[in-house]
């Protein structure tokens, strides 16, 4: 797994719940690309179509609160997001993101220090975020061992596949 991620950012607010990330009216959709096309439409319908590949979403507190729907991280990944930086995350969203290989990192106060369209580099090993335009380096929290183990495997699916293949032998 890459421990450094760079991408252009979009900045959203506090308490961005899963209804704003992926509204209930689209929940019957199962095609990941189509799910991605509706991402964050509860915030602004134009976000998904213009989102940069490998981009990073920057948010305030309690990102991903609300429903347990896995459509939320599926939408973010398929919109092209590689990581989310926020003051805090709702628990189920955090688990879902890690399980699918979307990197959620706590970076307190980041929303007030960056602007839409800037490019950030996230260093998971060092626990830092660098703003490319200004050179400013911000501290962020490191992920726990369990989350890193899953992310390093590329998500929970490869990890489980490996485990079950081993058990069968």
């Amino acid at each position: 797994m890459k421990t450094k991620l760079s991408g252009k950012i979009i900045v959203v607010g506090d308490n961005i719940d899963t209804d704003q990330i992926y509204p209930g009216r689209f929940l019957a959709i199962t095609d990941p690309k189509e799910i991605g096309s509706h991402c964050l439409c509860g915030v602004d319908e134009s976000i998904a179509a213009n989102f940069p590949q490998g981009g990073i979403v920057v948010a305030g507190r309690n990102f991903g609160c609300g429903s347990s729907r896995e459509h939320a991280p599926i939408a973010l990944l398929n919109m092209g997001a590689s990581a989310i930086l926020a003051d805090s995350f709702a628990r189920i969203f955090f688990r879902n993101a890690v399980n699918l290989g979307l990197v959620p990192v706590i970076c307190k106060g980041i929303r007030d220090k960056v602007k839409d369209g800037q490019t950030l580099t996230l260093d998971l090993e060092a626990g830092t975020v660098t703003v490319q335009e200004t050179g400013e380096v911000l501290p962020c929290e490191k992920l726990g061992d369990q989350a890193m183990k899953i992310l390093e495997a590329g998500g929970i699916k490869p990890l489980m596949r490996a485990r079950f293949a081993k058990e069968e032998k």
């Binding site: 308490n15 347990s68 189920i92």
Partner: protein, 419 residues
């Protein structure tokens, strides 16, 4: 140790657990609702063949009951096929109701167990002295394959609720008061233990309302020590023997919040956030809030007690022309009981629309969606933008009594004058 820690310890084969530790614990019951066909896909993607135990997992078709479109019908079809292929002992199709209501009714929820469901409101089952927590589709698929899940042992905070509720103050008002103080992220990753004299005497329905909304503060799980009402309920229904866990007297909470319930009044969570809580009297003193729709239902407040108080308030009244009231009983059992008591008839005579037991419009899937600019007062659990339809519609969360009183004149109204 706390009762929740004892539950986690027992299910992970340990004597003790410590805050912050990662443990792998056995799941006693796993539930998948009908938004989560991805669970089946993830199960097969990871090499799953058969579920680990066909008596310990079930589907509940509640979010699309019955199906509003071809896509959801196809999803149900594929989930039904999975249930049949695995010979699942329990199956709750579109004629049953909301998962958090039908599981306790079916006896698969009991004290001392771990229940994991693909639904954030799984915290509801703390009402029964169980550890309930929500997860996503792929986490659920790992449970279906292995019967276990990893958990971080959470910090536990105490919300102590003392005193008796004044007339017109319902469990929903109590939990909204708590939410207004602790905020939407005040308990993220943590467990909330609800204690105090108010909880000790509270009935099953009220306990479920309060534990249900613990997740709106970010809580991983909620807990209440079972009282006699709970034990009577589960003894009649539990499909397995169970053991009630008790918190040791020397257990120290990470933090304690104390509330005097006897001093509370009816509350509203105003648009567009669950933490935007204000006393109803304060809101109506500032502005007359005209309503397009009222909504009573959901895993939060769609039980017999909730529909009974609404029927009592609306009996002999009629909702104004050009407004609508949607009532969604939480389950078939709830609806049958309400019909027998005449509550459904009272509400229909008052002009209410009754829909199939299930999640209904709570999450904006169907049966009561709002148009841009519309205002709704609802007994459900979330009022974020777009929750019940248009992102330009606005939701006030309130008790079923407040919703019913507000439907008499089509404006937000204090229920105390109608009780």
């Amino acid at each position: 140790m706390h009762a929740l820690e004892k539950i986690l310890a027992r299910n992970s084969g340990r004597k003790t657990v410590h805050t912050g530790e990662i443990v792998t614990a056995k799941v006693d019951f796993a539930e998948i609702n009908d938004l989560y066909l991805q669970t089946v896909y993830s199960f097969y993607e990871m090499g799953g063949e058969k579920v680990w135990d066909n008596e310990r997992c079930a589907f509940v078709f509640d979010h699309y009951a019955p199906c509003p479109d071809i896509k959801s019908a196809q999803n149900h079809k594929e989930m039904r096929a999975f249930a049949q292929k695995n010979g699942l002992r329990f199956h709750f199709d579109t004629n049953c109701g909301v998962c958090h209501q039908v599981m306790p009714e079916a006896g698969v929820i009991y004290p001392g167990m771990i229940v994991v469901a693909t639904d954030s409101h799984t915290t509801t089952h703390g009402a029964f002295g169980a550890m309930g927590t929500g997860c996503g589709a792929t986490d659920m698929a790992t449970i279906l394959m292995t019967g276990e899940l990893w958990f971080r042992v959470p910090e536990i905070i105490e919300v102590r609720l003392e005193g008796q509720a004044p007339e017109g103050v319902f469990p929903k008002d109590v939990i909204l008061s708590v939410l207004g103080r602790i905020r939407a992220d005040g308990a993220v990753y943590k467990a909330i233990d609800f204690t105090g004299s108010y909880i000790e005497q509270l009935n099953v329905a009220g306990r479920m309302t309060i534990c249900n909304m613990a997740v709106e503060m970010g809580a991983k799980t909620a807990y209440m020590q079972p009282n006699e009402d709970v034990l009577n309920y589960v003894k009649e229904r539990a499909v397995r023997p169970f053991e009630v866990q008790y918190t040791d007297p020397d257990f120290v909470y990470e933090e304690s919040y104390v509330f005097d319930v006897s001093a509370m009044e009816p509350q509203l969570a105003c648009p567009d956030s669950v933490e935007n809580v204000h006393p109803l009297s304060e809101v109506t003193a500032k502005e007359d809030v005209m309503l397009n729709q009222g909504y009573i239902g959901s895993c939060t407040d769609g039980r017999v007690e909730d529909i009974a108080v609404a029927a009592k308030i609306l009996r002999g009244h009629h909702i104004p022309e050009h407004t609508r009231l949607v009532v969604v009983p939480a389950s078939r059992e709830v609806m049958l009981a309400c019909m027998e008591k005449g509550y459904i008839q009272d509400l229909m005579n008052a002009g209410a629309t009754i829909t199939t037991p299930g999640c209904g419009a709570c999450l904006g899937a169907h049966e009561g969606i709002l148009a841009p600019g519309e205002i709704c007062i609802t007994s459900t659990n979330r009022n974020f933008p777009g929750r019940m339809g248009s992102t330009e519609a606005h939701l006030y969360l309130a008790s079923p009594a407040t919703v019913a009183a507000s439907m008499i004149n089509g404006r937000i109204t204090d229920p105390r004058k109608y009780l």
